[in-house]
């Protein structure tokens, strides 16, 4: 297994993986086999790493993890969530132009893929969704918007994301969903937790 380990401060370990698929496999294994490791407070997957923080014993954790065998592909472990999406985003035409197709074809393409929450960050409930094939990656906007409406479905680099609440943002806006992504009165509060699978379902504007 091609994992490398770096201790971060006194009680955290950063585990690096060669690619996002290995990160997903490692994250799934960590959740399933957490009891085999000394106490951990936080397990934070990201693009190429998983951070283990609040470790009772970083060195013992490293030794145990180094002996793990991971399955070759990430298991399709998470629940599937469908997000009804009105594809009327301000950047839809621009993204379609970058993809060399019509806006209607861009909508068909974007909604045809299955995505997976690789990691969260930026804001509570904001998930970085992988699953967009590499040829469709688009750059961030040169100038970020000072306010992106809550529910905006957006693209940047290899990721798709949905803004849980209105905030500044530099991603390309494809459309919007009215599904609440974050609700602290709900269990779980975050609809898009790491491992959850997502499909965007085109719907007409209400």
């Amino acid at each position: 297994m091609d994992l490398t380990f770096r201790q971060v401060g006194a009680d955290a370990l950063l585990v690096r993986a060669p690619d996002g698929e290995t990160v997903a496999a490692l994250y799934a294994a960590l959740l399933a086999r957490r009891d085999e490791l000394p106490a951990i407070t936080e397990i934070v997957p990201a693009a190429r790493t998983v951070l283990l923080d609040g470790l009772a014993d970083p060195e013992l954790t490293r030794q145990r993890l180094a002996g793990w065998r991971l399955p070759p592909h990430p298991p399709a472990d998470g629940p599937l969530i469908e997000l009804p999406t009105v594809y009327d985003g301000a950047d839809l035409a621009e993204v379609a132009a970058l993809w060399g197709c019509s806006p209607a074809e861009a909508v068909r393409l974007h909604s045809s893929f299955e995505y997976r929450v690789a990691f969260c960050g930026f804001a509570p409930g904001f998930g970085y969704l992988t699953g967009l094939p590499a040829p469709y990656e688009v750059p961030r906007r040169d100038t970020p918007r000072s306010s992106v409406p809550a529910g905006s479905v957006a693209l940047a680099g290899p990721y798709t994301g949905v803004y849980p609440r209105s905030s500044p943002g530099g991603w390309q806006l494809l459309g919007r969903t009215s599904v609440a992504l974050w609700d602290t009165d709900r269990e779980p509060a975050a609809l898009l937790a790491p491992g959850v699978r997502v499909r965007f379902v085109p719907v007409a504007a209400a």
Binding site: R6, V8, G9, A10, A12, L14, T41, E42, I43, V44, P45, A46, A47, R48, T49, V50, L51, D53, G54, F119, C120, G121, F122, A123, P124, G125, F126, Y128, R165, T184, P188, A189, A190, A193, P194
Partner: protein
């Protein structure tokens, strides 16, 4: 309902306990008191368990009216405390009769004051904590005039008469463990950080202590893929000025981390005003 009525909220006063744990993977910061020993001390003085929610003030203090008799204690950055206009003890328990006004004045030293009340503030917890998280807007909003903060029934535990309260530092000394991205910096960066004098920047807040001083040169100009960030991480944004992540820091970040400040050094960071000299002392491990 028994509680504390906000007469003057001060420039920024928030409810804080020891913060949220186990939810960083959802993008939720840990939050919690920046000067954790000060909140713990205030709680001990009024007989509360260590993790009981109290108030964190910022520079300008706070004024509260007791609804029902209350027992409070103020710690953190030293400040004048007055009860109905008369001076009372800072760093000790003070009985506040029903209807009396307690005023915590501006900090004479340091930045953040902590006020604990016997029974604790019982605002509704969010994800296991009553802390306000200013990065993501979770937990109770900063105090506003006329707000009634609910107080729970007193705990049956013993009260400490006296607790040690360190003075805010004239110079901030931050030890620095090696960070995970040393290879992203030029070889000269770490020696430069070690020998240079930095100052606490005015943009410092609950998210990060920002510094002003010589920019740290990078060896790589490309972007770091986002990764999980720890409390005390010293992140270096493109302007080259190191920033130390505090309680409300984002759970993931995309700038390289040159070092990690041990948690024990962060309460002092929470009490340093803009312009205070900062020295980084690299540790080998």
């Amino acid at each position: 309902m028994t509680g504390l009525l906000v007469v003057r909220p001060g420039p920024l006063t928030t409810v804080q306990d020891l913060g949220r744990r186990g939810v960083a993977h959802l993008g939720v910061p840990r939050a919690g008191a920046l000067d954790e020993p000060a909140l713990r001390a205030a709680n001990r003085l009024v007989g509360n368990p260590a993790g009981t929610a109290g108030l964190e003030t910022t520079l300008g203090g706070v004024t509260l009216r007791a609804v029902g008799p209350q027992l409070v204690a103020v710690t953190g950055g030293p400040a004048a405390v007055r009860l109905d206009g008369r001076p009372v003890a800072w760093g000790a328990a003070v009985a506040v009769p029903d209807g009396s006004v307690l005023d915590l004045g501006p900090a004479t030293h340091g930045v953040r004051g902590y006020l604990a009340v016997a029974g604790g503030l019982t605002v509704p917890p969010v994800l296991g904590s009553r802390s306000a998280d200013l990065l993501s807007g979770l937990g109770p909003a900063p105090l506003t005039v006329g707000q009634l903060l609910p107080v729970g029934p007193p705990f049956a535990s013993d009260r400490a008469d006296l607790v040690p309260l360190p003075a805010p530092p004239a110079e901030l000394v931050l030890r620095l463990q090696p960070g995970p991205h040393l290879d992203w910096f030029a070889a000269a960066a770490r020696p430069l950080l070690a020998r240079s004098r930095y100052l606490v920047g005015p943009a410092s807040n609950r998210i990060a202590l920002r510094t002003e001083g010589p920019p740290l040169p990078r060896a790589r100009a490309d972007e770091l893929p986002s990764e999980g960030m720890v409390l005390g991480a010293v992140q270096v944004p493109p302007d080259g000025r190191p920033m130390v992540f505090l309680a409300d820091h984002p759970t993931t970040g995309g700038y390289p981390v040159i070092g990690v400040v041990p948690a024990a050094d962060l309460p002092a960071a929470a009490q340093t005003r803009p312009g205070t000299p900062v020295r980084f002392v690299p540790l080998t491990r």
